[in-house]
Amino acid sequence: MLLAAYGPVLASAVDVVSAEVGLVPSSRVKNTGTITEKLRRNGGHTLGSIHDLGGMRLVVSGGRAVQDRVAGQVRELFAADARTPRLIDRRVEPIQGYRALHVIVYPDGYPIEVQVRTEWQHLWAEWFERLADQYGRGIRYGEPPLSGGASAQQMIDSLLTLADQIAEAEESEGMPPLSAVALALAGAVIEFLRTRRPGP
């Protein structure tokens, strides 16, 4: 079974990254539900065309300069494999606010997606992913929320603006504080969620 075969390859790749980068990534073989969702969403795709059946996540401290350095290290580590690693820069081409560097590596021919995120990119992504659980996973692709109506859409729009604010702050050196605008946006969304208790 393909997914079971991924286990040892992924574990070995995690060992390589941990030893050489000095950070232990979290790792997982993609779960069946999200594979099914992805195949359905991207009609015509086959299991073999999904490049994140195996995945790792690294969250780096220090902003974009460190992110670039770590992604470069990951590329180097797997550069000798038959298939050359591929960098996907989601900072240049974000998807619904999601920004990160993804390096697709191919140990033993198996594609593994290594997500390299800054702390802010990660915290934003986790928040948005969680809201996608609540309002429908389609919001990650620009679809309207399945519940919550106009106020939920307004909240999602605020989060997308917040993602832009974070990107703008990160483009400067280091980790400058979030702007007053970004804090106000985040605060408005948190307040919205507070008023919707006891929901998640």
Partner: protein, 87 residues
Amino acid sequence: MSTTIPSVAHFLLIYDRAAGQLLLKEEFATDAEALTARFAAESEYGVQSNVEIIAISAASEAELKKSHGRYFLSSQELGERLVGAER
């Protein structure tokens, strides 16, 4: 450059997306055991859009909560974590 491989912890998580609630967290000695448990759980639950069944590895449970806080924290807590990150 160091070649020491740090230890890794392996977990099975079962998460209810709609409720934003972790239904089960179980630790295993190896990634293979966690993956086997995942396949068994998928047989039990079937593939449901609102139930996520994950075999996942991380340096520790604390690190897993940092890298995958979505499985452990409410929407509001995740937002507060972001706002608090710069302090």
